[in-house]
Amino acid sequence: MSKIMTLQEAAARIHDGDILGLGGNVLHRAPMAMVRELVRQNKRDLKLVKTAGAMDVDMLCFGGCVSSVDAGFISYESEYSLAGHYRKAVESGTVKGNEHACYTVISALRAASYGVGFMPVKGLVISDLIDANDYFMRVEDPFTKEPVTVVKAIRPDVAVIHVQEADEEGNARITGPLFEDVLFSRAAKRIILTAENIVHGSAFTGSSKKADIPHFLVEAVVRVPKGAAPCSCPGSYDIDGKNLKEFKGLKDLGGLNAYLKAFEKSDYKG
């Protein structure tokens, strides 16, 4: 059964208020085409989840689509530096910045993927984060009676993952680093894939490198070549630094809309 649809159709399956997991890491394999479409569709109240986000989180904050961000790190790394829109949104109180260690995001996603409500985390020992956030709690190890911090499960309503190859049923293979994407594909209730290339299923059955994400976890597949640009897509393209700088220079929503408009042809060519 083909799950191929347009970017617009797939984005329409992400609803205001959803907990949204974003694949990739910092400027690598972020699902940028979907992020752009979510801004175009004027989504509201998205609750973002990612270990280390950058332009994706920043753009959604710029677009006013976000009510909270659960993450360990939000920045463009050293060359492109701070995520100004995210920062301003948290400082102005329009977005709740739920700080995690990257590992507690992983632990929270592991809990969701194991169907349990929480996960013990060894390393979170002394931190103001524990008392400042209701998703951390200090409990007693039931066997050793030692204190241990636990993190509450995060089960995204939907996760968007950009992959290099998917077949029309949703089997997908990632080239290069997996980051937390395979974990997201297990932890989230629904998975939307954007893919550089739609391949025939025999690409997986005939290879020793099987699909990383099996079709039965996937709800929608969108063909979007350059779907991670201007971020990198390992094996396909590196970042587009000029475009990144252009985005970082945008002053207002008018500028953002024009920027998004310029991507439409590429994002919709499918």
Binding site: A52, A71, F73, E77, E91, E99, Y103, A132
Partner: protein, 241 residues
């Protein structure tokens, strides 16, 4: 003592490299060009058996060309031996088996508290920082947590951090001016870079400087500088300045 031809970034990277023993398992994360290059330098010189762990998961990569914009890119899988990604590195640390973690923060105080989170109220902060990434769980669990920060001023080294992202087990902090070392729960001046002075350190630190004797950070050797040029021809070790 000032040596015109030496750059602070080289002094810092070489100091970080020398802290890496052969055979140790070492992790760096995002926004971490300096420790990444320090680790590659250590492996090229005195620590060929040090294990390079990183976010993309390439164990001991031999990347053709580092990238200026990232220390978490796919080039860190190139010619790697094993795939051991971020979540596994965290697990390794939780099991007490990660030897060295290079981490950072925005604010530090003399008792080893690290703030990478916020200035002001957590819920509605005056400044929302990028976040501690791995710090909150790695500083307590790595056998050795080594921090670096390319700013050294009174807003960075403060009497009391605004928010404790994590505390304790900080071994050293390497700054553009000096190296601090934690001793008995207190940050002590270990060495001053030859490019700086005790006065400069004192003027730019928000807590009283303690030291037992005045020592200077050894300058990079010719061998180190020449290896650095080979490893980091793009001079990415300097991008934080």
């Amino acid at each position: 003592m000032m040596e015109e031809k030496y750059r602070v970034c080289d002094i810092m990277v070489c100091a970080m490299a020398r802290l890496i023993p052969d055979g140790s398992k070492v992790f760096h994360g995002v926004s971490s060009h300096m420790p990444m290059i320090a680790l590659l330098l250590a492996k090229a010189l005195h620590a060929p058996g040090a294990v390079h762990l990183n976010i993309p998961g390439g164990t001991d990569p031999d990347p053709v060309r580092l990238k200026k914009y990232t220390s978490a890119g796919p080039e860190l899988l190139e010619r790697a031996t094993a795939y051991f990604p971020l979540m596994e590195v965290f697990d390794l640390a939780m099991r007490g088996e990660l030897d060295v973690a290079f981490l950072s923060g925005i604010q530090f105080d003399s008792r080893g508290n690290v703030n990478a989170s916020v200035i002001g109220d957590y819920k509605k902060p005056k400044v929302r920082m990028p976040g501690g990434a791995g710090s909150a769980v790695l500083i307590p669990t790595a056998k050795r947590a080594i921090l670096w920060r390319t700013k050294h001023d009174k807003r960075t080294f403060v009497n009391q951090v605004d928010f404790v992202t994590t505390r304790g087990n900080v071994e050293r902090i390497i700054t553009p001016l000096c190296i601090f070392k934690m001793e008995h729960g207190e940050m002590v001046l270990e060495t001053i870079h030859p490019t700086s002075s005790l006065e400069e350190v004192e003027e730019n630190t928000g807590f009283p400087i303690k030291y037992s004797n005045i020592a200077y950070t050894p300058l990079p050797t010719k061998e180190e500088l020449s290896a650095l040029k080979r490893i980091d021809p793009g001079d990415f070790r300097n991008i934080e300045f």
